[in-house]
């Protein structure tokens, strides 16, 4: 290798010495080289513009993007279920994305259960829409399910809660939902947009709301459990603390 390099170096030296027009040739090549550099920088600029426009100029306007990513990092997601598919205990959480109590529960109670029971593989939590706040709860819930189909359902739900608006202010617009989806890291926004408006996903929202009612729930969030220690799916209601929820998971396992 060093012999070959030495030969090449000597050849290049000889060429420089033998070729009186070498400097002219290099002068002539300045223009195409400059054009190549200009083209390269233009391509970089185009890539950055596409990336920024695709992400709405960045997701820094949303609250809690990094916190949500960090909280859910390393926990498997399958559809709207958070946790290992093989977990013994399944916790169904019936919630409305517009519900302020659900937001508080998601920020103050669930993190401990996720850290202790879900991350360990003991339980998985399946988010189910229970639309009771208003008509916008349905498109919000459908958007979460569509995000779940791309592995970002819980990122969507948690980020929605952290940016939840005041009830009755019509904040759940297409623009808001798209910003949440982007902040949640949904990879294919076009696919998500089609899925969230599909009859299949909207029917899923209606079906889970009907299921919540059939379990006797009247408010959100409400929980139901299923595991080796339960007789099928059992309504739990709303545990008033993380400890109570964890205790119920232990009993079900």
């Amino acid at each position: 290798m060093s012999g070959r390099s030495g030969r090449e170096a000597r050849r290049e030296q000889r060429l420089r010495e033998e070729e009186p027009g070498g400097a002219d040739r290099r002068q002539k090549l300045i223009k195409p080289a400059s054009a190549a550099a200009f083209l390269a920088l233009a391509i970089v600029a185009v890539l950055i513009v596409v990336s920024q426009s695709q992400n709405g100029g960045g997701d820094t306007e949303l609250e809690g993007v990094a916190e949500v990513r960090e909280a859910l990092a390393g926990v498997p997601q399958n559809g709207m279920a958070l946790g290992k598919p093989s977990a013994k205990v399944t916790v169904l959480e019936f919630a409305d994305l517009q519900c302020p109590v659900c937001k508080g529960y998601s920020e103050e109670v669930l993190p401990q259960a996720i850290e202790h029971r879900v991350r360990s593989g003991e339980a998985k939590i399946d988010f189910r829409n229970f639309t009771i706040i208003g008509p916008e709860s349905t498109p919000a819930g459908a958007a979460a399910i569509a995000a779940g189909e791309q592995g970002r359902g819980w990122n969507f739900v948690e980020l929605f809660y952290r940016n939840q608006g005041t009830e009755g202010t019509d904040y759940v617009s297409d623009q808001f939902l798209t910003a949440i989806a982007r902040g949640a890291g949904v990879p294919d926004i076009d696919r998500w947009n089609g899925d969230r408006k599909s009859g299949r996903v909207l029917r899923e929202v209606a079906a889970s709301t009907a299921q919540a009612k059939s379990l006797g729930f009247t408010g959100t969030p409400s929980f139901a459990l299923e595991g080796p220690g339960t007789a099928g799916l059992e309504a739990l209601g709303t545990p008033n603390s993380a400890g109570a929820l964890e205790s119920a998971i232990s009993s079900a396992g």
Binding site: Q54, G58, A73, G74, R152, G185, V186
Partner: protein
């Protein structure tokens, strides 16, 4: 200052581009399998970055662009002549510039560092330095 022999520069570029293909391919395979690249020492930065919406451009994994870039840079390293020198310079400038942007996103927008992405950005920086030296030192020297 005299540039190193062109053969040496081409050899370094060949090694770096081959290594880069390996890194970008690992990221792409880990991401396409529904998982994410695994960071060393249990850090979660790789997953956070891979799950960010910035990890895809026009629906294509950014690592896919990386593989294409490294393959083209490998071809430029293996070929002789002014066209290869200039193409290598331009391609590595694109890769270096885009890597700078991605690193900025990691630090200030996504708030997470992916070790594999940092490795790729380092390789692109070295490839830019090598290809720039090759072009400045040897373009127009062929007979």
């Amino acid at each position: 200052m005299k540039a190193p022999a062109e053969g040496t520069l081409r050899g370094i570029s060949t090694f770096l581009a081959t290594f880069g293909i390996g890194v970008a391919t690992y990221i792409a395979i880990a991401d396409s399998g529904g998982g994410t690249p695994v960071c060393i020492a249990g850090a979660h930065g790789c997953q956070t970055v891979a799950e960010s919406s910035y990890s895809h451009l026009l629906g294509i994994d950014v690592a896919g662009f990386g593989i294409a870039g490294y393959v083209l840079l490998l071809a430029c390293a293996l070929l002789r002549g002014d066209s290869a020198r200039m193409a290598g310079f331009a391609l590595s400038l694109v890769g270096f510039g885009f890597s700078l942007y991605l690193t900025y996103l990691e630090l200030f927008t996504i708030d997470a560092i992916c070790q594999w992405c940092v490795a790729s950005a380092g390789l692109m920086t070295l490839l830019f330095a090598t290809n720039a030296t090759r072009m400045l030192g040897y373009v127009g020297t062929d007979r």
